[in-house]
């Protein structure tokens, strides 16, 4: 068995693989070059590809993603880094008004093959402005694809698809997973955008998760064996395109659905998934759809407080237990 690699290493590996195969792929962002990224997710890129393809930018989020858009429209495949996903708010004009609309509002005259990578999520005690799971900020705007991998191999495989995509992709790297380890990605590993993965089979309850909530859901499923509850865990991997079919076909067998989201309940992605299942899979359900999402408060600092707000194994275990007893 090959040596395990970290999620963090997989990010650099995924980008490097694409930079080797396509000279149009260039990176830009704050501290990504010589410093190799504040999360060390661009390790080795500056050394291998040089300052011509790995650009250190000023702290100018609008200029970073705006320049990525201009480069994408004119023949490059830029990969822009927004250091913490909370900072998407600093350049939200580009995610809300520019990037997703360029192709459509020009009647299809331009394409926008760019990737915005960003470190997302909580659990590390960074406080309210550096801990948010903001995939729902992006999910609310039509015209952006969204990937959020949970394993090192998926990081590499989805990075390949994101960079090769002719559409804009926002790529969420979860801060809480950076040190986690997994199987390395095989050569030429490509995971298509919009294909969920059934990461654990089960018969009683379907738990749909994304990024950090995948290991949370898997741990919960493991604990529930003792209570003779069989949990199926689906890793959505992408929010756009959304793989509804995999969710519905699982619910067809389990008739019970729980959505585990790190973004707030208020406006979280689970609400959209729940509405689709309620609409198209109502007759498959034997119980209400439940959502385990972050509380609708800012993310607090102390561990004891943060655990109270974001999804935990205990919260998922409790939700599954109650739903299977419904």
């Amino acid at each position: 068995m090959a040596e395990l690699i970290t999620y963090r290493e997989a990010v650099s590996e995924g980008i490097a693989r694409e930079m080797r195969r396509d000279s149009r792929v260039v990176c830009l962002g704050e501290d990504i070059g010589a410093a190799e990224g504040v999360f060390k997710t661009t390790t080795g890129l500056f050394t291998e590809f040089g300052p011509e393809r790995v650009w250190d930018t000023p702290i100018s989020e609008q200029a970073i993603v705006g320049a990525a858009l201009g480069a994408a429209m004119t023949g490059m495949r830029p990969v822009a880094e927004i250091m913490f996903s909370d900072f998407i708010a600093c350049c939200y004009d580009y995610l809300a008004n520019e990037i997703p609309k360029m192709r459509y509002m020009t009647g299809g005259q331009v394409t926008v093959p760019l990737v915005i990578r960003t470190a997302n999520g909580g659990g590390l005690g960074f406080g309210a402005q550096h801990s948010q799971a903001v995939e729902n900020w992006v999910f609310t705007v039509p015209g952006l694809k969204i990937a959020a991998p949970s394993t090192p191999a998926d990081v590499v495989g989805l990075m390949a698809s994101a960079i090769r995509s002719d559409d804009p992709v926002v790529f969420f790297e979860h801060k809480g997973l950076l040190a986690s380890k997994g199987e390395p990605a095989p050569e030429e590993h490509v995971v298509p955008l919009g294909e969920a993965s059934v990461v654990r089979s089960g018969n009683d309850v379907t738990v749909v998760a994304l990024a950090s909530t995948v290991p949370t859901a898997l741990s919960a499923a493991e604990q529930l064996i003792a209570e003779d509850i069989s949990v199926e865990v689906i890793d959505l991997r992408c929010l756009v395109p959304l793989d509804v079919k995999t969710v519905l076909s699982s619910v067809e067998r389990t008739s019970h659905l729980i959505l585990v989201e790190e973004n707030p309940y208020q406006g979280g992605w689970g609400a959209t998934v729940a509405s689709i299942v309620a609409d198209e899979g109502f007759e498959l359900l034997d119980a209400p759809i439940r959502r385990v999402a972050a509380e609708c408060v800012p993310i607090p600092f102390a561990d004891a407080l943060e655990d109270e707000v974001i999804p935990t194994v205990e919260k998922v275990v409790e939700a599954v237990r109650r739903l299977s007893a419904f």
């Binding site: 320049a67 004009d93 005259q109 331009v110 079919k245």
Partner: protein, 335 residues
Amino acid sequence: MTVSEDTSITVDAGRLLEWYEQMALIRQTEKAAYDLFMSGLVKGTTHLAAGHEAVAVGASAALREDDYVFATYRGHHHAIARGATPAECLAELMSKATGLCKAKGGSMHLTKADRGMLGSYAIVGSHLPIAAGAAWSAKLRGTEQVAVAFFGDGATNIGAFHETLNMAAVWKLPVLFVCENNLYMEYTPISAVTAVAHPAADRAGAYGLPAEIIDGNDVIKVHDTMEAAVSRAREGDGPTVIEALTYRHYGHSRSDPAKYRPTDEVEHWMQRDPLLVAREKLTSLGVDQGEIDAADARAGEIVKGAIQEAKDAPYPDPATALIDVWADGGAAWRN
């Protein structure tokens, strides 16, 4: 920063007459847009560029066909200067399928990508980094293309303006920042809300960039200034900020009669109408009145034909609302 007072004529009569005709074409297209709006055939809003023609035509004349232009929601003049026809512009304004953007963009988003006119942007200042990105791309690809961002005076108080000037200066990008300073951000004088007298040029020094303040109603001056700046950019010497002083002939947008502008100021600028300025120069170069009138007449014929063509064009098939979100032509966000 330099303020140029040079009034010599540096082009020949034939070229200037060509530019005059392009300016006349823009002027008459804008007049048509206004009339069509008033008669209810253009919905939404329009931001007319009548008065700004010399900036677009003079700048465009200094560019290569493969250079990139980024404009604002007041951008009809840039689309036409880069080769969009009045017919495809008016059709877009009139929500017709034959419009530049297949009726998905409207007046504020005219785009002609195959002529390097990479969009009109309706969020003030948003396109400055995008233009810098196109310039970065040209630099990476080694094509010696340049990118030009045209923007209004109001955009100079947006964060993206400052972020972009800094980054473009640090990276020595082949991008030109051309401010069409028409003295009003929208309804408010730019001088009332800006800490410096020249909103673009006075900021350039903060980023170590050269700047020029020019008469934006003199098409020759615009051309010559641009030509020098473009040449510097192509040679790898980085961006230039050009502040072109000009004036709108209409209000900010369709509903604005611009009553906030003093009469004597309006009169002063009307005497500096870029078409009048060009006519005077043509006359001094020995071009006779008949030739100039003939250029106006040709522009008039084109616009007349364009109005009819746009009126006759079909509305878009409603089904096209659900295409072209993605590069594959589709709009599917789920399976």
